[in-house]
């Protein structure tokens, strides 16, 4: 660091004259942060500090290069002790980042942590007004004046502690969910793993080999699945869905629908006699329609739990009332068509969401003609076609005539990096899975010609670039940089002609292929959308779940006690999913190990004398915190469950009786801010400006 640290500029000159006139209000200290040049490069921090020093109640005004640093925090503590400060205003970055830091800091100096007011002069001044330095400085002064005015009205608050149930719910039984459940169980916590399909395993179970090392996916996954089913700390709820979640961190009450398998799980030994007897054959969704299964089935041989399930839509008995061949075939009396869905209630302290992804489905009438041409398939379909336990026993054939293809094309970025369909993001796995599948095809049939149509090859992971190199050096796979513009089918041979610009040649080429594989991207799964609604989780613009902080809290959500793992949070490959699952398990273990958690006191509270029990707040609250209860004197009154309340203030702003107060955002505090923002304006009065007040409260 070459720039000299700014002097600790102290407004002591003013201090003495202030002492006299300001005994009435609380003693306030203002700390203006340079944030290196992040703020000071635009905002004139010295002017802001000088202006702050003139404000009523301000005893100390200082500026600092990095207020959040050890040195900066030391200075706040010192200033509090030396000047007997009662309120602290820090003008720096967003409270999202450092409010907890400074709360701890003033607590160390003996102040109640909630007597802190943050003023955001970085995101709201220097960053957005970087071209208008003077105006940014004026705005910073205004914001500091508002903050000081509000600080004078702050009240001390006390945080509360609630107990945490040492049990966790893991939603989704793919590799991420499996890993998170195993880790938590091994730490000694009770785990409920809910999976909507009859078997756990997720998408990884469908894959053939994994990049870049070429391990067989199911061979490395199956042992984990078995380990999970044998762990006594884990209750595996397969063929089940989360119906309802109530409560808050440490105390979630969950209702799980156990869909009827029509097979007693405890009696079924997985022998398969029932399936042998079943006369109904349908497409197996696990093989994406290429293979078949019976109406009583396990999705794949390594299924966990190895318990059969009846597909009610296709079962002859449910259609005609007859058949029952499976019942006769079962030697253990496990098949029972009279079973019903069950609702299971469980109590958990934390929830891990690992609901994974779906592959992008190419559009009908789209350029790639996926729905019209048999020989245009997706990457996941290819995985089943080259999989040794797949419908073809691992022999790649083209769907139109069952012949092995001589020329195969891969088309990259289908459903990814495309603004037209709204998927702007890179799906991160398609480059590598296409390269990996090209290798598999070449190993099976070395004479196959393979061409990859790509935009950019993103071989960013460990061992990825080496595989990309190997595929060209050893397997002579051809790479064409260009996005196919037109696919057309030869009506006789069913071969596909691709027209594309080979951008590096600056020429338009037309090539014919026997099989075209679309490297489809990853999109949020249907299951994610469902659970997202139930848990009120937020998503980023791409539709995947939003983490609490993209760098520093990558597995947490905005909801305390709910964590993310795997592709539900964004596209990622298997190692990244496993790593995130382990991180989510470790994060969930923090409150469960402590057995208690601190709840922020920034909640809404109801003045029961004013409340008329209209129930508007119960309808508007996004977290279900207020509820109507019968009061002792008769009549209904709203009551807020503090642990559920996030302090958003929706109820307080909407209450027609003004019976609800949002802590640290009380009417008095907001009005004091507004009055500071608009000096010289006549005083606004809450009671005469209902509509206006509401609007202003929302703005603030």
């Amino acid at each position: 660091m070459t720039a000299p640290a700014p002097q600790e500029k102290d407004s002591t000159a003013m201090a003495s004259e202030k002492e006299a006139g300001k005994a009435a209000g609380p003693r306030i200290g203002v700390f203006v942060c340079h944030c290196g040049s992040n703020i000071a490069g635009v905002v004139d921090c010295t002017k802001v500090r000088e202006a702050a020093g003139q404000l009523p109640g301000v005893i100390v005004a200082k500026e600092n290069k990095y207020t959040c640093s050890d040195l900066g925090q030391e200075e706040i503590i010192k200033a509090i002790k030396e000047n007997g400060l009662e309120r602290v205003v820090v003008a720096s970055c967003s409270p999202r980042l450092h409010e907890p830091t400074f709360r701890k800091c003033i607590q160390q100096a003996g102040l109640n942590p909630y007597l802190l007011q943050m003023v955001n002069i970085r995101e709201q001044c220097s960053w957005v007004h970087s071209l208008e330095k003077d105006k940014a400085t004026e705005k910073a002064k205004d914001l500091v004046r508002m903050g000081v005015s509000k600080a004078a009205k702050l009240q001390p608050l006390e945080a509360r502690e609630v107990p945490v149930e040492p049990a966790s719910l893991v939603v989704g039984g793919g590799v991420a969910g499996i890993q998170a459940a195993l880790d938590l169980a091994q730490m000694g916590f009770k785990v409920y793993l809910v999976e909507s399909k009859p078997s756990i395993g997720g998408k990884m179970a469908q894959l053939d080999k994994t990049f870049p090392t070429g391990d067989c996916a199911i061979c490395i996954l199956a042992p984990k699945m078995v380990e999970l089913s044998r762990n006594s700390n884990i209750t595996l709820l397969s063929y089940s869905e989360v119906e309802e979640v109530k409560g808050y961190i440490g105390n979630y009450e969950v209702k799980v629908r156990r869909k009827a398998r029509y097979v007693h799980e405890e009696k079924c030994v997985g022998c398969g006699l029932c399936a042998d007897a079943c006369p109904v054959k349908v497409d197996n969704e696990f093989d994406l329609g290429f293979g078949q299964r019976k109406a009583i089935y396990i999705p794949f041989p390594q299924a966990v739990p190895l318990k059969y399930a009846i597909d009610k839509e296709n079962c002859l008995h449910f259609k005609t009332g007859k058949c029952l061949l499976c019942v006769k075939a079962c030697t253990n009396e496990a098949v029972d068509h009279s079973l019903q869905d069950e609702i299971l209630s469980i109590k958990v302290g934390t929830i891990i969401v690992a609901t994974g992804y779906d592959t992008y489905t190419p559009k009908k009438n789209g350029v790639y003609r996926y729905w019209e041409y048999d020989n245009v398939i997706t990457g996941l379909e290819l995985e089943r076609l080259v999989n040794a336990s797949g419908p073809t026993g691992g022999h790649l054939i083209r769907p139109s005539d069952g012949q092995p293809p001589k020329r195969v094309a891969f088309v990259q970025c289908v459903g990814s990096r495309n603004k037209k369909i709204g998927n702007n993001y890179c799906s991160r796995v398609c480059c590598m899975y296409a390269i990996k599948n090209a290798q598999i095809i070449k190993e099976h049939a070395p004479e196959t010609e393979i061409t990859v149509y790509y935009n950019d090859i993103r071989a960013f992971g460990k061992g990825f670039e080496e595989l990309y190199h190997r595929i060209r050096e050893d397997y002579f796979v051809e790479f064409i940089r260009g996005r196919p513009a037109k696919l057309s089918q030869d009506p006789k041979t069913k071969s596909i002609k691709i027209r594309a610009e080979e951008t590096l040649l600056n020429k338009i080429t037309e090539r014919e292929f026997d099989l075209v594989v679309l490297s489809v991207g990853l999109v949020p799964s249907e299951g994610s959308k469902k659970i997202g609604k139930i848990l009120s989780l937020t998503t980023t613009a791409d539709g995947f779940f939003a983490e609490a902080h993209p760098k520093l809290r990558p597995v947490d959500t905005a909801m305390d006690g709910i964590y993310l793992a795997g592709c539900a949070q964004g596209p990622k490959d298997i190692p990244d999913s496993v790593a995130q699952a382990k991180a989510a398990a470790a994060s969930a273990a923090i409150p469960m190990s402590a057995r208690k958690v601190t709840i922020e006191p920034l909640t809404a509270s109801v003045n029961e004398e004013l409340c008329q029990g209209c129930g508007l707040c119960t309808e508007l609250c996004p977290y279900g915190a207020p509820e109507l209860v019968q009061s002792e004197k008769g009549g209904w009154k709203a009551r807020v469950t503090e642990a559920l309340c996030h302090g958003c203030g929706t109820c307080a702003a909407s209450c027609p009786q003004k019976a609800i107060v949002a802590m640290q955002f009380t009417d008095e505090q907001i009005y004091s801010e507004l009055e500071a923002a608009l000096p010289g304006q006549p005083k606004t009065h809450a009671k005469t400006h209902h509509g206006k007040k509401k609007a202003e409260a929302e703005v603030s």
């Binding site: 350029v367 970025c413 990096r417 495309n418 603004k419 037209k420 935009n455 950019d456 940089r481 260009g482 996005r483 196919p484 513009a485 037109k486 027209r499 594309a500 610009e501 080979e502 951008t503 600056n506 338009i508």
Partner: protein, 195 residues
């Protein structure tokens, strides 16, 4: 390989003439503000182009002549105007490139923006000026022609009568518009415009 000239040509791979000219694009030729200018004239941000070539592949013109939509967008990114000169008028603005562009750029409108810029810099191909003149004179970009009249007759369409006062009024109105928008001055057809 007997005389020395033969030897020299062989030595440089027969590229004797070409080697005299420097093929390096000098930094001075670049105009990195050009994308902003294109945006000013209605072309969307060319900087987001992924260079995937989808636009070229779907372009009906690209199939017939040496015109690569993608390349033109690339030249625009660097502000290499001279490479876009000869090609910008061939675009038929069918918008297929826009329909397929994954980056949501509208190459057809970039071409239109390029035409705007070219005209303002005085680079106007003769056929454009002719069409503008026709517009000023006859109210349509195609000059009236006995051949066309014949076809109109065959198709049962009404004849265009130059003496028709309604027709003359329309031509005058077009002239007023061309003048008011300073289009006549821009193209250099002030004399043709009747007010």
């Amino acid at each position: 390989m007997k005389d020395s000239g033969e030897v020299e040509k062989t030595f440089i791979g027969g590229l004797h003439e070409e080697l005299r000219e420097d093929k390096i694009i000098d930094e001075a030729q670049l105009d990195l503000d050009f994308p902003k200018e294109i945006r000013k004239y209605g072309g969307r941000d060319v900087m987001t182009c992924l260079q995937c070539g989808n636009c070229t592949g779907v372009c009906p013109i690209s199939l017939k002549i040496d015109y690569k939509t993608r390349s033109i967008i690339k030249y625009c990114q660097f502000g290499l105007k001279k490479y876009t000169l000869g090609t910008r008028w061939v675009c038929a603005t069918c918008y297929r490139c826009y329909e397929h562009c994954p980056a949501d750029i509208n190459p057809a409108e970039v071409m239109i923006a390029l035409r705007h810029i070219a005209v303002r810099e005085g680079i106007i191909p003769p056929f454009v000026r002719t069409a503008a003149m026709n517009l000023a004179k006859y109210g349509q970009s195609v000059k009236p022609d006995p051949e066309i009249d014949k076809i109109r007759k065959e198709l049962g369409l009404p004849m265009i009568e130059a003496e028709d006062p309604e027709y003359a009024r329309v031509v005058r109105e077009i002239g007023v518009l061309l003048h008011a928008t300073k289009y006549d001055k821009l193209i250099g057809i002030q004399e043709e415009v009747k007010l």
